[in-house]
Symmetry: C2
Subunit: 354 residues, 2 copies
């Protein structure tokens, strides 16, 4: 299997280094694997003047899976829109047609204190958010800033979902619901936006093929509220790109430990891009104190979704649970009575626990 490794910016290189250690153990044990690195985001801009340069495109297209650190940072804030690091991320998602973004929000019992929510509200939390990733207002045309007929400047974007786009993400979500508790909540704003009225109609249609799954619908404003009020009412949620961006970040913060949360972005053939849910944390970059566990858990997701190696995924996940149970903590999840370790010490501990 060919894996493109894109460290990116900020803490990206540090956390990727630790995740590579895990991949290299698997490699040494005999799992055939080709790991090749290329830049994305700001690092790619520095080297090639583009956030998603051709060399990276070629590598990513030929790979079976992509492992990404994170992109962006204040050094690039003044670049023009097409050159900004996050455009690299949007471009690779679109280029590889990674339409299904899976973002688990899981509370690890050992880290229950990290949540700002009361323990009884979040203990045992395990939500899977399925976010559509290559459509919606992120990519809809027309868009821009123009002067209108009245001579006034205005900014505009287009929210848009075609039937096939909604159908394919619906199938991903229903299939995940089938493997979990057969409960799926589709989030829309159908009372105001025709795009999401249409979304809801297609969800209801696809549901006919999954009679065992209970499909519910919730308005996005209510979902934002219910995630705070009673997050454990949710199991699998499915929504569009922009609502998914907002709700998945909100949901991940319910756990209080976003440094623990991986993500997968899949195409229709199980090719995927795997990255931590958190960002590039420029303020702590280069200090070897970042938490590499979200990236390591992203490797587990890669094994599960792209390579169908569920046992390997479980093994990585168990190793992470073991180091937590052993009391090891990076700075972001440290609390009294545990042992503070660096980014690389955490990576080594996971390798030892594998």
């Amino acid at each position: 299997m060919k894996i493109a490794v894109l460290p990116g910016d900020g803490i990206g290189p540090e956390i990727i280094r630790e995740a590579r250690k895990v991949l290299e153990v698997l490699q040494q044990e005999g799992l055939a694997m080709e790991l090749t690195e290329a830049p994305l985001g700001g690092a790619a801009y520095d080297q090639y003047g583009s956030p998603y340069p051709e060399a990276t495109q070629k590598l990513a297209r030929e790979a079976d899976a992509v492992l990404l650190g994170a992109v962006g940072g204040p050094a690039y804030d003044n670049l023009d829109r097409p050159l900004r690091p996050e455009r690299g991320l949007l471009a690779i998602r679109k280029d590889l047609q990674l339409f299904a973004n899976l973002r688990p929000a899981i509370l690890y019992p050992e880290l229950a204190n990290a949540s700002t929510l009361k323990p009884e509200v979040v203990s045992g939390l395990d939500i899977m958010i399925v976010r559509e990733l290559t459509g919606d207002i992120y990519f809809g045309q027309p868009r821009g800033i123009r002067t209108n007929e009245a001579g006034e400047r205005e900014g505009f974007n287009t929210m848009l979902y075609a039937e096939s786009e909604v159908r394919r993400i619906a199938h991903v979500a229903f299939n995940i619901a089938m493997k979990r508790n057969k409960k799926l909540c589709s989030v829309d704003k159908a009372n105001v936006l025709e795009t999401t009225e249409f979304w809801k109609e297609i969800m209801i249609d696809v549901a006919k093929e999954y009679p065992e799954v209970t499909l519910t619908h919730m308005y996005v404003d209510n979902a934002a509220m219910q995630l705070v009020r009673n997050p454990k009412q949710f199991d699998v949620m499915v929504t569009g790109n922009i609502f998914g961006d907002i709700l998945s970040d909100e949901a991940s913060m319910l756990t209080g430990s976003i440094g623990m949360l991986p993500s997968a972005s899949l195409d229709k053939n199980h090719k995927g891009l795997y990255e931590p849910s958190h960002g590039s944390a420029p303020d702590i970059a280069g200090k070897n104190i970042a938490n590499p566990l979200a990236t390591i858990l992203s490797v587990a997701m890669m094994m599960r979704y792209s390579f169908n190696l569920d046992a390997v995924a479980l093994r990585i996940e168990s190793a992470v649970k073991k180091v937590l149970a052993d009391g090891l903590r990076t700075a972001d999840i440290y609390e009294e009575g545990t042992r503070k370790v660096s980014c690389s010490e955490m990576g080594d501990a996971v390798v030892a626990a594998l």
Copy 2:
């Protein structure tokens, strides 16, 4: 002063009845006031076949302020889009040009336990969300469901902000920040959406007129996360219609007692529509158990923003605090050691405490 009273649907009539008691006390004390009722939403549909019928339009246009209960309910779920109760709400906002929606998220010390967040995270919470209410993807054209050139059906909407729309809401937000702690956080998704890149540019420009206010910017996904992580970092937030819809609901739920939260929707001349932040709660309608305090506090906002009667507003707010301090609670905020009262008992208690 002419006040249009629109009870609406669900618990609307019950909570409005209690808020009217407060208004009638002020009237008896000599405050010249004309109170006239008209239907909106489902109730209006039942009576006139339209969620915002002409009689209501006329009344609302001629009034100095509008007091609204809530609209919507399952009885109307199968109506066509233009007939649905919430279209009445959108229509009156647009018709009266109520572009500035103020949604406070305040934690009452007596109700601190109601929050799902830990006390130290939310105690003293006092955020004012300023949401633009007559633009954005809620009203942008073109919109609809169509068959595209490739023969596929698609849903689409237009996010759009003209310069004047952003400028006027910016001024409202900066003025509110001036009266509070001179901190304003503008929420956008400028890294992806040109509409909000434009929004941010105008905010920065308007900021020049308010050198005392510290303006910060935050991406909407991060804002959804930061509201959970550390809500007390925020004082005044300003954002567009759809992001404001989502974030204000999330913020209000941080308090755990959405039955306490009022809202104001203002035009450029201080005419305003005042309504509780919560919905029509059809499940408890007609049972006299709803919490009328958000509606009563909406009357206080009306006195403050439309009639410039700050002392009257403070008096109503003090009366509400007093009944809470006396241990009176409707079912939604009841906890052991307090006294459970009905909707009408709560209204009477506030009147007695005035």
